[in-house]
Subunit: 368 residues, 4 copies
């Protein structure tokens, strides 16, 4: 695969640049018979839309999605679903200054090293707008998961030094915070901190956490396509992510086996449960029926307004001051992207899981 | 893909169980003309062999690799390379007791949930021995990287509370530590700590770090197959890994953009360098020419000898005491596995990168 | 893969239905630096356009292509190229009558069997219009082949009983025939025959032949991805194709080895040539440097205006008379589709072929 | 994919050369719970074994298969199944003479063109022995099809001018003919013809036909992965195949739509049937519930004992007389290979088909 196609059974092919005609995605392998309207997609896209709070770029992106194929009389037909968002608010002039400049922390230099030149307008394909296709596809994946009783919920766990406490993670509070931080006290502190960052012409990193509830046990493949490996890859493919962990993650480095092992417990009807969830819902690459817990570390927005030293295409040392409209923090808008990339991994794994056992295949095809 | 096949251009298909006939791998897509002898593979396999120190299981595994195809007159032919290690030292009787038991922290329950039953001997396919195929394939990938001037070096960064200090990471010291910790003072402390763990019938987690040197800039794909995403997936697919980070990793959550951005600097001949390497050698999913730095968190060995509560296949709450031969720590033997999985990702990315630019393709095929 | 994604390195993802919003394609893995304008694509699409002669449906399809991404300042950027054609001339009302009917020779019944329902307007995804995405992608593949000195030319070899004679296959005559038959005498006879078919409310089958010139020796993979196997699959994936042959094809069944073997001959500079080309340019799945010759058998258009017996969704035996606008013959419009599917296979094989030999990889990456 | 890996869900990775240590295959994605013994595989391998009649090479190949992984207590575990046949009867000396010679009709030259050199012993990877891995994997695929009530039966339809008549295709007669020709009169004539060919130091081509019975309607993907396209690719990947057709195949070129369309007919319980089967069981790339009928044209064995003109590696014109042991006809031993490649395509398509409809996925995962 050449890099913009993802997934084996539920295959997603995204396209588009920040300042081109538009951005979009083709989803191949979506089952027939799912009710799907543009509003289902739009709802998710609106969550990544900037301009809603002062902590996001004041750019106005209308980002109206159109479904171009694969849906007939309100239901998916089983054939490819093409979706598109037209670019409307792009001001390419803002970027002409950086055409020859390698912005620190951005992919300008590496794109040139790879391709020989680049669409420099707004970062081109490396722009955050590239995630529009992911979220549109993820919205469909989420619909499939809903039908199977599986929910995916992400939120901002940490911004700079402010981390949500375990006792304050109520799902219903996520929407009450402009930063998607369910611990509203920490959210308030993080808001003050961000205000300071904006004054300082700086930006800040953080952590997004994602919880999957309702996943049946037995999903995921045992070797290279471990469920955690595929989740990690999907989430690491989001622009600013520098680390991913599952369950207790990096904390396990300092733990003993007796602390880290989750003891099993027979539930009602001899159902297998765990007393704790250090594993984060995955054992040996396969879901264990518990909540899947993933965390992703996001670097601070590389576009800062402070003066920075760098190099231009001619190989000269120069100084730049980035202008334009940029978020001081990535996480609040990335929350829905993390959910989307998680949902895409889960759907692919669930579809793959349907051929694990001959008895179930036999039953599936035995329809009089 | 069904889970035991990895890679698009350099494709690896592993097979085998801990206590079956043997374990092996088929490598498809290896270029013709590489000098390859069984010793090249054996050298790497020996590094994952247990029994060399008291911190590893006293099992003796001879693990002699045989090349079964794809090499003629000492050179790869371009056709599939099949390699195999026969199982010789397996004592299946040790495991009959656990046939019906779900060991905490192991994949026993999830395999049963997925497949309906499992080869319980030594963990079957979920055994650490599964990595034999990975390391054999990785040895070939490493040979390819060597020919391109790229080195991959992993070491134990941390065991429990003992972490190598940045000033003591000299490559030549890795081999002097039985734990692959180049900071020899910390290695000594970790050894004492491990001795205590063994006495306590417990185990301990840690971190492996891997550094890639000599990678050209411009390798990796910009969206889903970002170089960091593929590396993360590959390394997350190793049994006990619970977290992966690139460059500054999770530390970026608390950093500002002005701290985290690596400023560019024109080197001699206008070459583009970075003043720092917070990015860990990858920007926008594409290599930036700097060292690639990856860290992976390993959980403590789940096989501990302490009494644990759990459940059996019949859904009854029981207690078990695991017996047999088990490492109290995974990292020293995992170092070569991390290198292997890294090398596999890099070779695939380098091969993919050959078709990024039409001018280079034209030149490649223009051979009078 | 779920079926609408093709190719490993040059990956094509098509979408769209006959009477939906439009049809299109996303091409991932196209190298950077190729000059590409909408006219390059349009030129090819116009060749599959109906309405140019009386032997094609009188529907007028403007079919204007738009490039939505992946091209900047007139050159491909290396990122996905999205292309789209809007549907403008669709009259869905024509099809409401067949919503519940299974037309003989069409995919109506099998789509219902697979998906439970279908977009019945104009055949939906099974319409010949689905090839728009293939041709748009093929146009880019053809540009790549041109840069490497490789040409792909298809023509109508046979319509019903009228077959072009080997001595009358001059490339420049293809365009002179409304049926793309370079043997203009046979073309004239076939035209008369088609006129009769139209009067009879019937349709007719035929053969398209495709010749690849300039292919270097050594391209194609030796086992499952034999160049002929990939070509066959690509061409068999075109709607009405019922047979594919390479070189002498089915005629070899009656030949002896001494007749069928192509003897080698040392050309100037010891170059390896063949005295004959029974092989059709491929030996052991790998190109031998000679012209690649492929033939595809197309069934008669299943939409005929004669009364036919069939079944409806309710399982009742009924009679239908198909109405609307339909070609009595598929080949003339399929010629460019066969070229496109051939070009897609060749580009993928050429890209794959770049990693066959370590010496060439080493040289590729050795750029001071 | 690099060429020796096949299939998306039921993935087959073959390896091995004619005169190396052995040949084998790894099957990934085989469901758990299928009873599988080495005899199941051996039975199929024996059908491709030479030496049973005078029309096959007198080489004796014991070709005993060993299952190395993926089976526990007589049942598949869901993890990769590795199978191997050791080479025992190879006489490499026979081939030293041809090390520098390009045999007409063989892949010697194209392998050299691709890889720079080749394992010349017995054709190396391009040997007919390469099909051992295919047949071993196909044997497992056939077991899966059996469990779903689907049978795959191939036979020799034609040898040189002798073609089985439609009225004499009784399945039970296939085994009575040393040439696998169920029309025993034609089989006798073909035997005489072959005797003459052997005397003439020549070889002869033919056609293998394969019939799939019991395939449910609705299997196959509608665009690039049409069931016929995948079947064609699989069968075209067999060494000597030069043409593939489905249903009426090339004969459709001369037919009218009114002759070629299969009218539908309501069977009992409103079941949809066809009055004829010109389509060969596939409409629009999707199975229509009728028998699938495929024919493949095989070229005459290129190894003939007559003197032939050719070229050597040094680019000199020379003459050769091939020696050794070679079949004068390929079809009788290829019959089981055609069945295997067909079975592999069908299993992959059936597995893919399980995710076509959301209602069935929902039902699959709704297990209280």
């Amino acid at each position: 695969m050449a890099g913009s196609v993802l997934g084996d059974r539920f295959t997603v092919s995204t396209w588009g640049e920040s300042h081109g005609v538009g951005l979009g995605v083709v989803v191949d392998g979506c089952p027939a018979g799912i009710e799907l309207r543009e509003e289902d997609i739009q709802k998710m896209l609106d969550r990544r839309k900037p301009g809603s709070t002062k902590y996001a770029t004041p750019r106005k992106e209308s980002d109206r999605v159109k479904i171009l194929s694969g849906v007939f009389e309100g239901k998916t037909t089983g054939t490819p679903i093409s979706m598109m968002v037209e670019n409307t608010s792009q001001r390419s002039a803002d970027y002409s200054k950086i055409a020859d400049v390698y912005r620190p922390g951005h992919a300008d230099y590496t794109f040139d090293a790879k391709y020989g030149f680049r669409d420099y307008r707004g970062g081109g394909r490396s722009s955050g707008r590239e995630t529009i296709g992911r979220v549109a596809a993820g919205a469909i994946a989420q619909k499939i998961l809903e039908e199977l009783g599986i929910s995916v919920t992400a939120f901002t766990r940490q911004i700079g030094p402010y981390e949500c406490r375990d006792e304050y993670l109520a799902k219903e509070n996520i929407g009450k915070s402009p930063l998607c931080m369910p611990d509203l006290e920490r959210s308030g502190q993080a808001e003050e901190y961000l205000t300071q960052m904006i004054r300082d012409q700086d930006s800040v990193g953080g952590i997004v956490e994602c919880v999957v509830h309702g996943m049946p046990a037995g999903i995921g493949e045992p070797v290279f396509d471990k469920l955690d490996a595929v989740l990690a890859r999907n989430i690491f493919s989001i622009g600013a992510v520098k680390g991913v962990e599952i369950g207790d993650g990096f904390a396990v480095a300092q733990k003993n086996g007796s602390q880290n092992n989750d003891e099993f417990l027979a539930g009602e009807d001899a159902e297998v449960k765990k007393r704790t969830n250090h594993s984060g819902g995955i054992l040996g690459g396969i879901s264990d029926g518990d909540d899947i817990v993933i965390r992703a570390a996001f670097k601070p927005t590389p576009s800062i307004f402070k003066k920075q030293k760098t190099v231009n295409r001619q190989g000269e040392n120069i100084e730049i001051e980035i202008q334009g409209r940029h978020d001081p923090v990535i996480m609040p808008r990335a929350v829905v992207v993390v959910e989307s990339m998680t949902a895409l991994a889960l759907v692919d794994a669930l579809f793959t899981g349907m051929t694990s056992r001959m008895d179930r295949i036999r039953e599936f095809y035995k329809r009089e």
